[in-house]
Symmetry: C2
Subunit: 798 residues, 2 copies
């Protein structure tokens, strides 16, 4: 034992003085697989199937390759997972023993209160967005309308056109500058990022207050800037940030620690709150609390937790309630008329259907799926183009956004200018009816669509009485808006995809309804409202491919439960058709950014893949009582975040190579905190469980941004100390045996929300480690009924 | 090796000839813990915390004790778990390799189709119940009314009274006889049974067609028999049976095997279908498809499965659609008026609320919680009384049911006779207005409540215009009906608790509204409808303690999304208040029947309990190639259902005692099928993977009722054969190490839906087994802030 220890010591001491490349190579000397190769594992050839298991050729833990950007088959190496599994250390046991039931009760009550606050504050953000957009766009379109009205007669229409362009460019410039230079993670709708976070991937800066500020200001400017975007996605992202902010009782952006709620400073608790925030965001965006709960279940949950769901539901309900209450005051609704007046998509009270309409809806679903997958296809190639040529220079991103803003204004103005779709003013469904070249007492129907925010246009297309639009102008509007929204999504601005999809969908849905009216002029079941709604659902479903949550969101947003089945059938058809061609837009963007998103199910037909084939190995292991020098060396040289703790086999000594039985698992950040606080054995008076000097609080205080190993300075004397990792490590990690099949490994990993899953052989010695990336990199492709299994590359570059 | 084998052989041979007690004692000789005691496990004292782990005193696998019936702290030993975890055997791998993607696709499409059929058939059952009850009660109350009308003048009111009693007794007699003598599992609402099934407990006969028939006829008779019961719970149970029946393609009751869908003949698949059936049942009962999905999630899910949820939703939607379509035809609604006319609780279109009403609702929630827990308290003691004194003789159960039926008629008649609550006929909210002693042009308001099914009465109390009832008569009705429904629940008839709870709740809710009207006569926000609704929600929430699903069910059943928050706050308060005193009525009945229901969370503060303390040990293990004689002996002597398969350590031979490393897990039913088909090594020409003689089909054909070991006859020659268990066993079972803490053991067990969880030491040798009962038997009680951990007894008697 002594000689072994000595050998390891000299090794690690030597390593610290070497150049970096050497360190990496040498770092593997102590890795467990090396250690164990020579040990007896005769019994691994025991089982019938095991006979076919060969240790795969040794691979580096990360395959660092130069891969072209914009490839769907690369996983980025830079994303880490959340620690959803609470490490089961002696410290936790101590805390539990000392604090007892009262502490649990306090934590529980705090949870409820925090969820209520999340609901209220998310509603606040929602109100800010709603009122901000409302006020600014009133100014914008009011001014434009007055100029148009004046200039039609004075023949100076170029003035309102240039003003329109100027308005758009100015607002979009603000949004784009903020997003490009201040906080790039605030770009887009934020739903992909929230989805990844809920899936368990740590997306840097995604739930910071700075992100929230950029998002809120950015989305107001994008919408007012006339882009084909909506505020719904950003609202969901905002809810998540609010949740993370409130639950932690401190903010990195503001540099303030309120010293409250420190017991929630764990990935595990934080993620639960974020799922509540996302639900509240949906509730605020669509007035859909149940839809919100289902959204956060659909996007995030692996393990159904009844009490969490119930709290999330309360949070979403309170958010809806607050939002409705205050917006009702703002809009001047009184008393009991509240809710109904604020339905996002207007009231659909008497809309019902006959059973023979169902095939029409299903057909529309299929069309939506086609249009949606085409949308995704174009946007995918556009995004790849952007990644290759535009994203390299930040200013080009801003210029592209401004170009889109100017184009949008130009398209809108041209349509109003060239198409004379005049309607009598009596029906007046718009706030700013522009006459343009129409006769007196008439207004331009296209002007009505363009002279308001896209969200209001959706409502107009849903509810405008029959005969409000010409087929030709609506068709042109559909095509141009479709193209504009494809171009817009992915710009460097804060912007959601829900509303533009709904708007294009409502346009072609309404066209379908008009066609049916023309075919069956005497039938009273042809109701333009419901066809516009079904079209909108089909288009949105074809683009985003959400299932149950989208159905319920649409049911709640229209306030019509009876119309659930048609919406559902439409969405099923849209999803099936779309999935035939490609994935949903969010998933495409997630894949492009290389985030290792864990799917719902293991790849099909993978029962012949074993843990030993997918695991990363060799693994860098630590001994239970480890030298500080070696810890520092390993943390500097390796990028791993979890290290199995082993005993160095006392019996199997063979020329200094020892087998390590798995004793626990310790995380990088725990090691960092230990080093930082100098919890060394040689200073053992520090460690006195009775005085509770060392508690979980020490770790929570540093959460979530731990120091880097380079920032910790240790004297040479301290480097010679040792640390007893046993009280801090997770002493009963979940493990799997090397011969377990991939589907079972996947299931345990997914269901328990793991980050590190050590793989052991049948003598309980660590032979590998399965992480999220190892599971994600197996993908199955189907082509012409044949199936090929594909292994994705992992790159540090994207 | 040879000597060891020989020793074991002689042991097992000898055992077969001994008397039974001997067998049990000797049976443990080969149990792994005995085997391993002498092996080196020096390293188990390694970890700091491990120092405190002592092997607990050896206990029998099942503590068989004579326990008094009606005790909440006993777990019945007779319930087994479902095999939700698919055994990962070589056969599965073969099947996957041979059948490929096409087979998967076929399975998948079949799944969708089966779910659609479940929706349609459950709707069929719903229609049968609805129409049956409607028609029969029309006859009953029509006849009674005509006699009452005639007899008020002729002074022969004893005739309608006796007729009423006779009607009730006759119908209830049918229901009670069926339930008592034909299928006792059909008693009550069926929700506890479905809940247990979805939780993973095998409740015998719960999803058989015979049960369905008894349930349907029984509930029609109970409702028409005038009992204080509803058809909603039974409908949910019926949906589950329908699902199980359709998905299996065969029926034991009918003795027919349609030879289709045999790939769904696994506990795993069947449970998924049953969860869809339960959701469809809710959808049929309340017109609440989303509520149905949430119900089956809340009651059954541990792992959120997106595609399953989506299918369940479709199933529930189709069920609602079919039910509404056909019932609309029956009730004469046409076209687009469909859905709205069929809302279970009538339309609440304009009901909204002011924020300052919320405290009133919360107060009502608290009252509901109090009344509900009182209900549960009385019913609990009544049930214990029944278990002790009535259930012993079957005829007494029937007599009690008849007694309740007669009492109900008497109470109703007395109220009509003695209380003259006369109202003008103009408002006529009832189908059979009885005049009794009222003046001409008036009707008896109490007669109106009693002369219809409870479900219709709920609707009346919700929607009757203000002034339809006197305070005194409504109060008396509330008290009497409350007592009647307490007495009725638990009778040996098919009957649900939803409607009587809603009815009592609606009564006191309406009273509250009337009180508020009297307090604030000029306020227009006091709307009796909403107070009746809130009262009903509070009472029901207080009794059943469901959370999110109940909220959504009520939202959908009233068709009013805006009223979600008040309902939710009411239900939260009712649940909190009720939980302070006791558990929900379903949980009380489940506990009384001793079913080991797995809770959502591990017991709090249990990080100091280790797997080694809760596991059952010693474990009976099998060797990979095992002698038939020993298998037969073990299956006869033991009640276990899963056996770890070990290799008998080739190296550690020490006087015939060998250590077994875990190699797999095999289930009792697999062994039975192997024995039955004589898959013995000595007949090894049978086993030829290429010809696929032995496939999973062999096991599926026997599902779900396998032979008993006594029914398999083997010749002495066959007894000397051996079986190679390796191709059949689950070769990578999930395992935990003996030092894992209870919360972690619980989480892996719950999240993965396990049935057997082998516990190994750190050399991978089996030392124990954790099953559902081991996890359930730890319960934590809170009293005055102190916490005591309690270990429940396991009894074979109840």
């Amino acid at each position: 034992m002594v000689s072994l220890q000595g050998r390891i010591d000299s090794l690690s001491d030597g390593l610290l003085e070497n150049e970096e490349e050497k360190i990496v190579t040498e770092g593997h000397v102590l890795a467990s697989h090396d250690l164990c190769d020579s040990c007896d594992s005769t019994s691994s050839a025991y089982r019938r199937r095991a006979a076919s298991i060969e240790w795969p050729p040794r691979k580096q833990p990360r395959t660092v390759e130069t891969v072209e950007v914009g490839c769907l088959n690369v996983i980025s190496g830079k994303y880490e997972s959340l620690d959803y599994d609470v490490p089961d250390s002696d410290l936790l046991l101590d805390e539990e023993r000392n604090s007892g039931l009262k502490y649990e009760t306090k934590k529980n009550i705090s949870r409820w209160i925090v969820f209520m606050f999340i609901g209220v504050f998310t509603a606040g953000i929602g109100i800010l967005l709603d009122v901000g957009i409302d006020q600014l766009s009133e100014i914008k379109y009011g001014t434009l309308k007055s100029y148009v009205d004046r200039c039609v007669e004075d023949n100076c229409l170029y003035i309102p056109y240039l003003m329109w362009v100027a308005f758009n460019v100015a607002f979009v410039l603000v949004s784009s500058l903020l997003v490009t230079y201040v906080e790039p993670i605030a770009a887009g709708s934020g739903i992909p990022q929230v989805k990844c976070y809920l899936n368990g991937v740590k997306i840097p800066r995604v739930v910071r207050i700075k992100t929230l500020l950029v998002k809120v200001v950015g989305v107001i400017c994008s919408v007012v800037g006339g882009l084909a975007v909506g505020k719904e996605g950003p609202m969901i992202h905002s809810g998540s940030v609010v949740a993370a902010g409130i639950s932690q009782g401190k903010s990195t952006t503001l540099g303030k620690d309120f010293k409250i709620l420190d017991f929630f400073r764990e990935d595990h608790e934080k993620r639960d709150f974020v799922s509540g925030g996302a639900a509240a965001g949906v509730a605020a965006a669509f007035g859909a609390p149940v839809g919100g709960v289902l959204f956060s279940l659909e996007e995030g949950t692996s393990f159904w937790n009844q009490s969490l769901t119930w709290r999330v539901f309360l949070c979403a309900m309170i958010c809806t309630f607050t939002l409705n209450g205050i917006l009702s005051l703002y809009h001047g609704f009184t008393g009991q008329q509240w809710y109904a007046g604020l339905l996002s998509f207007g009231k659909f009270p008497e809309v019902s259907y006959f059973w023979y309409e169902l095939p029409i809806y299903m057909m529309m679903g299929l069309i939506g799926g086609l249009l949606g997958s085409l949308f995704n296809y174009i946007n995918y190639h556009l995004t790849v183009f952007r990644m290759r040529y535009i994203n390299k220079r930040l200013w080009m991103k801003v210029v592209e956004a401004l170009l889109v803003a100017a184009t949008t204004a130009t398209v809108g103005f041209s349509m109003i200018y060239f198409l004379n779709d005049c309607r009598p003013l009596g029906q007046d469904p718009t706030k700013f009816p522009t006459q343009v070249f129409c006769g007196d007492g008439e207004y331009n129907a296209l002007g009505a669509l363009w002279f308001q925010t896209p969200e209001t246009s959706v409502r107009s297309l849903f509810h405008d009485p029959a005969g409000s639009h010409k087929v030709s102008s609506l068709s042109l509007f559909f095509i141009l808006y479709y193209l504009l929204s494809v171009w817009t999504y992915g710009l460097s601005v804060s912007a959601g995809i829900f509303i533009p999809s709904l708007l294009t969908g409502a346009a072609w849905g309404r066209l379908t309804g008009m066609g049916l009216m023309w075919l069956f002029p005497d039938m009273d079941w042809v109701d333009l409202r419901k066809y516009a709604l079904v079209g909108a659902a089909a288009q949105l479903g074809g683009v985003v491919r959400m299932t149950i949550s989208l159905t319920v969101i649409l049911i709640e947003a229209t306030g019509n439960i009876a119309f659930g089945l048609p919406l559902m059938l439409t969405l099923i058809c849209a999803k099936w058709m779309g999935d035939f061609f490609n994935e949903g837009i969010y998933d495409i963007h997630i894949m492009l950014s290389g985030v290792p998103l864990l799917p719902w199910e293991p790849p099909p037909l993978s029962h012949d893949v074993y843990a030993s084939e997918i695991m990363s190995h060799p693994v860098v292991v630590l001994r239970a009582v480890e030298r500080v020098a070696r810890i520092v060396q390993i943390l500097s040289a390796e990028t791993h975040n979890g290290f199995p703790v082993v005993d160095v086999g006392y019996e199997h000594q063979d020329e200094g190579i020892a087998c390590g039985k798995l004793r626990g698992l310790i995380l990088r950040h725990q090691l960092i905190v230990l080093l930082q606080n100098k919890i060394f054995n040689e200073f053992s008076d520090l460690w006195n469980p009775k005085t509770n000097d060392i508690t979980l609080k020490m770790f929570r205080d540093e959460y979530p941004r731990y120091k880097h190993i380079q920032d910790i300075s240790l004297s040479p004397g301290e480097m010679r100390c040792t640390i007893d990792l046993r009280p801090f490590m997770n002493s009963s990690p979940y493990v799997v045996i090397h011969s377990m099949t991939l589907p079972r490994v996947f299931r345990i990993f997914r269901a328990l929300g793991l980050r590190h899953l050590p793989v052991v052989d049948d003598t309980n010695q660590v032979v590998g480690m399965v992480t999220r990336k190892d599971l994600v990199r197996y993908r199955v492709n189907h082509h012409n009924g044949k199936m090929t299994r594909e292994e994705l590359k992992i790159s540090e570059k994207i």
